[in-house]
């Protein structure tokens, strides 16, 4: 099989990328979306709470509604989606193989490939929580699937470890469905989730949040019978503080301890990875080190708002379309983004400057919560080329700053090959 564009993943990123590529002039019959689940929409299908689409559509949608909008756009354009399809291999030169019950085993190649595989959750094993290994330890997303898709409850008395957004959402969801959420423990001294979720999912339901706490032991033989939690020492590698242990009888432990971009295919294709984001290293078009292979969405880096996933996917989709349309790939001048004080990573990691360069929005996460800071982009001499004041920033909320096209062009003309992105504390 030969296609102009193959999109791996039919979640919000893959759908938006395919729509953008189509709208940029690629015939729908030249595009193929491969989705491993039974339906397109990705993990949004189980996110039945609202809060999606405020930026994108200016209204508050549920996850399935948000996904539905993009599924409709794909269907209106008659872009083909194969569901129940799993890509087994991908090479740097855009050859891949996939299987599905409908198609059987298929080898395919494409002029452009967009990686939109999403992410997975960190597990108990990754945290090395000691204790027994009974039923009743779930990642929050797995529990969410049971509750929202299958219509069953993972347990009645619940402790949640990790205050990531999914954990917070599930604290509320389990409570609304009749379970008792006993507490949420967070290893860090601040929550990893959006501030609005702390208020709406915990405070509104009187669910205690124990900051600087972790689960030190899981108890139970067949099923969880309890967990031991303890305070951790900030000054000593966040190790549990002896004497602060507390046994909490419960039948369920939910883990919301981080998301990991899924990049087994990316790594298999030999694409350069960013060890911090866990995703590919990309330029502003979201093109990876393999020519014609783009990455977007949570497979590239973990987002907190799906609206930004769509935006990023459209960048990749348009770029893939441009490549396919054989727009001459000009030899680009590359400017890398070096992160400085307070900034953990930036996506894109580099900017390829061509004649047609447009405004570039740098998305990034901060290392720690800060108040009253200025986000600063500097040239090699330390001169500010963009700045933005922020009252408060936190690792749980993605930040961004836009570089104007004319500024980028000037940097390139001056021979600049590296810009800095950092925070600066403002006078209080």
């Amino acid at each position: 099989m030969r296609k102009k564009l193959i999109v791996i993943g039919g979640g919000p990123a893959g759908l938006a990328a395919a729509v953008a590529a189509c709208d940029a002039g690629i015939a729908p019959s030249d595009i193929l979306i491969l989705e491993r689940d039974r339906e397109p929409g990705g993990i949004l299908n189980q996110c039945i709470h609202t809060g999606f689409g405020l930026h994108r559509f200016g209204e508050e949608l549920s996850g399935p509604e948000y996904a539905g909008r993009y599924v409709d756009m794909v269907r209106q354009r008659q872009i083909k989606i194969v569901t129940d399809a799993m890509v087994l291999s991908l090479s740097e030169d855009r050859h891949l193989s996939f299987v599905s019950p409908a198609t059987g085993f298929v080898r395919a190649e494409a002029d452009a490939v967009i990686l939109a595989m999403g992410c997975r959750e960190r597990t108990r094993g990754a945290l090395s929580i000691p204790g027994t290994r009974p039923a009743g330890v779930y990642t929050a997303g797995c529990a969410q699937r049971y509750v929202n898709m299958e219509g069953y409850m993972p347990g009645s008395r619940v402790v949640i470890l990790g205050s990531g957004d999914i954990g917070l959402i599930m604290a509320r969801r389990m409570t609304l469905e009749g379970a008792k959420v006993l507490c949420v423990c967070e290893l860090m001294p601040y929550s990893g989730g959006l501030a609005r979720n702390i208020v709406q999912c915990l405070n509104d339901f009187d669910i205690p949040l124990h900051l600087s706490h972790t689960v030190t032991q899981i108890h139970g033989k067949d099923r969880v019978t309890g967990v031991t939690i303890a305070a951790v020492d900030e000054a000593n590698g966040r190790r549990p503080i002896p004497g602060t242990e507390q046994y909490i009888p419960c039948d369920t432990l939910l883990l919301s301890v981080g998301l990991i971009p899924e990049n087994e295919l990316t790594v298999g294709a030999g694409i350069h990875m960013d060890p911090v984001t866990g995703g590919a290293d990309v330029n502003q078009h979201r093109e990876t080190s393999a020519e014609g292979i783009y990455a977007c969405g949570n497979a590239l880096h973990v987002h907190d708002l799906v609206d930004y996933v769509s935006e990023e996917a459209e960048i990749a989709g348009r770029a893939a379309a441009q490549r396919i349309q054989a727009m001459e790939k000009q030899s680009a001048h590359t400017i890398t983004v070096k992160t400085g004080f307070g900034v953990r990573y930036s996506v894109p990691q580099r900017i390829d400057v061509t004649d047609g360069v447009e405004d570039v929005r740098l998305f990034f996460r901060v290392c720690d919560p800060y108040k009253k800071v200025r986000v600063l982009v500097t040239d090699e001499q330390g001169n500010a080329i963009a700045k933005r004041a922020r009252n408060a920033v936190a690792p749980g909320e993605m930040e961004s700053i836009t570089l104007r096209a004319d500024a980028i062009r000037m940097l390139a003309d001056s021979g600049c090959t590296q810009i800095g992105l950092c925070l600066e504390q403002m006078e209080v």
Binding site: R36, V99, G104, F105, S128, C142, R145, Y146, E177, A179
Partner: protein
């Protein structure tokens, strides 16, 4: 009916013995206390086919280990079980350890192990580039291998079942009665009758021996726990063979090994525990991490995908006790089969069958004997197929085109096949051990709801009746039941 032979215990010894007996025209039953084969020591161990240099010359262990290791490759081929003869190094750190290597080398030669060599620091580094700078030499045993221990036990048991051996699970033997030349074994509610009994009860083997009438037997079995960390497949290439630290008085020491599935495995430590305690401790994980890093400094605990603990059935006699009871006719004991019990299992099974024969069991080859796991051959997992085989499998059954476990590439076809096997998978863990669904880096986060739904459909029930591993290990409950429980609690 009265079986010719009842085997108590479906660990590696019991299942391999069942497989051996299945080749003959006799009726055989296996009674297992757990809900599945490979439930205790066989479930969680280092998965190493030891070469046989470690055992004290002249012991039963030494004899069984060397012979078993030599038999393993052929048995695995016959049963379609992955086996890799990757070799092993015992690594020395300094002169004292090097003296131990020479001692082990001599033992190995006396035990009849072939191919042993003591390597220099440079030779070792060439074979294992990630070995610690502090390593000074190694004992190289090219005949050592790796295998999936529970996979081998399941395969052997399936082959036995295919040839007519009956398996009774959740049958913990609690009493034995002798009448008219046969034994009636009870678990309190049900009974199984047999003319001869093989005691392959692992950690319980001494207790079962007493129950079978050998009350004067002077042996205690101590459950010793070993903790392990299993790492992501991307670290599998850290080592090319199995690396042991030179042994000390405390045991064989921590090893760093590649599993037959391509993960990196580190462990175990050794602690005496209460029977059945397979919990993992923070101290234990720290201990094995430190031990592994001593061998291979680049081992990174952050790549852990799961940790677990296994139980060894350590006998006070420090040797396998394989013998026919002098007290009672027709009772064969396999007591204290600890490490290298996995490597020894083909030879132990063969010897037990010989003891049964000496006791009068008539061994006539079974007509229409099926050497494979199922009448139609050995099942092959989708993940192990070539692309051509995959295409053919999906064409024959579209369920093989639907991936359920994305991390380990397990298809719906694989899962259905395991549910309809001679020892059918009835819960999530049984499916996992048979297909690897949920064994990967997401640890079942994505696939367990779908695997549970397939189990429910297959059993004509609802999700709230599906368990992780039987008993009270329920996965989910109906909403109304949860609401009632919470109200009751309040």
């Amino acid at each position: 009916m009265i079986y010719d032979v009842l085997i108590i215990g479906a660990g590696i010894t019991g299942t391999m013995t069942a497989r051996c007996l299945a080749a003959y025209d006799c009726s055989v039953a296996v009674a297992e206390a757990g809900p599945d084969v490979a439930w205790e020591a066989t479930r969680a161990n280092s998965a190493i086919i030891h070469a046989g240099y470690d055992c004290v010359p002249g012991t039963v262990k030494a004899k069984m280990n060397v012979r078993g290791c030599a038999m393993m490759e052929e048995i695995c081929r016959t049963l379609g079980v992955s086996y890799k003869k990757c070799g092993s190094h015992v690594v020395a750190f300094g002169e004292e350890d090097e003296a131990t290597l020479r001692e082990l080398y001599d033992r190995g030669i006396r035990n009849g192990v072939t191919g042993l060599r003591i390597l220099t620091r440079e030779e070792l580094r060439q074979m294992e580039p990630n070995i610690s700078e502090a390593a000074t030499a190694s004992l190289w045993a090219p005949g050592a291998g790796i295998v999936c221990p529970y996979g081998l036990a399941i395969a052997a048991a399936e082959n036995a079942a295919t040839n007519g051996v009956d398996f009774y699970f959740r049958f913990a033997v609690s009493g034995v009665r002798e009448t008219d030349g046969y034994y009636t074994v009870s678990n309190g509610t049900d009974t199984i009758c047999a003319r001869r009994i093989v005691n392959a009860a692992g950690v319980s083997s001494a207790d079962v021996a007493k129950m079978l009438g050998d009350e004067g037997l002077d042996v205690q079995i101590t459950p010793r726990r070993g903790e392990y960390i299993l790492m992501d497949k991307k670290c599998g290439g850290t080592v090319n063979s199995t690396l042991f630290a030179a042994p000390s008085a405390k045991g064989k020491g921590v090893l760093v090994a590649r599993t037959v599935h391509g993960n990196l495995l580190i462990g175990p430590n050794a602690n005496e525990v209460e029977r059945g305690d397979t919990s993992v401790t923070a101290a234990g994980l720290a201990e094995i991490t430190a031990g592994a890093k001593r061998l291979v400094p680049s081992v990174n605990p952050r790549q852990s995908i799961t940790n677990f603990a296994g139980i060894r059935a350590t006998p006070s006699t420090h040797d396998f006790m394989l013998f026919a009871s002098e007290e009672k006719k027709g009772i064969i004991h396999a007591i204290g089969v600890e490490s290298p019990g996995l490597a020894s299992s083909p030879a132990v099974a063969e010897y037990i069958v010989q003891l049964l024969s000496e006791d009068g069991l008539i061994l006539r080859k079974r007509e229409n004997y099926i050497p494979t796991r199922r009448a139609e051959g050995n099942p092959k997992l989708f993940a192990e197929m070539t692309d051509e085989e995959r295409a053919a499998a999906i064409a024959a059954d579209p369920a093989y085109g639907r991936i359920i476990c994305r991390c380990e590439t397990v298809t719906e076809g694989d899962l259905l096949s395991a549910m309809h096997s001679p020892l059918p998978a009835r819960d999530i863990d049984m499916l996992k051990r048979r297909t690897r669904a949920g064994m990967g880096r997401c640890q079942g986060g994505f696939c367990s709801p779908r695997a549970a739904a397939l189990l429910a459909a297959d059993q004509g029930t609802t999700l709230d009746h599906i368990t992780k591993s039987g008993g009270g290990s329920w996965l989910v409950r109906k909403r109304e039941d949860i609401v009632r429980e919470v109200e009751d609690h309040a």
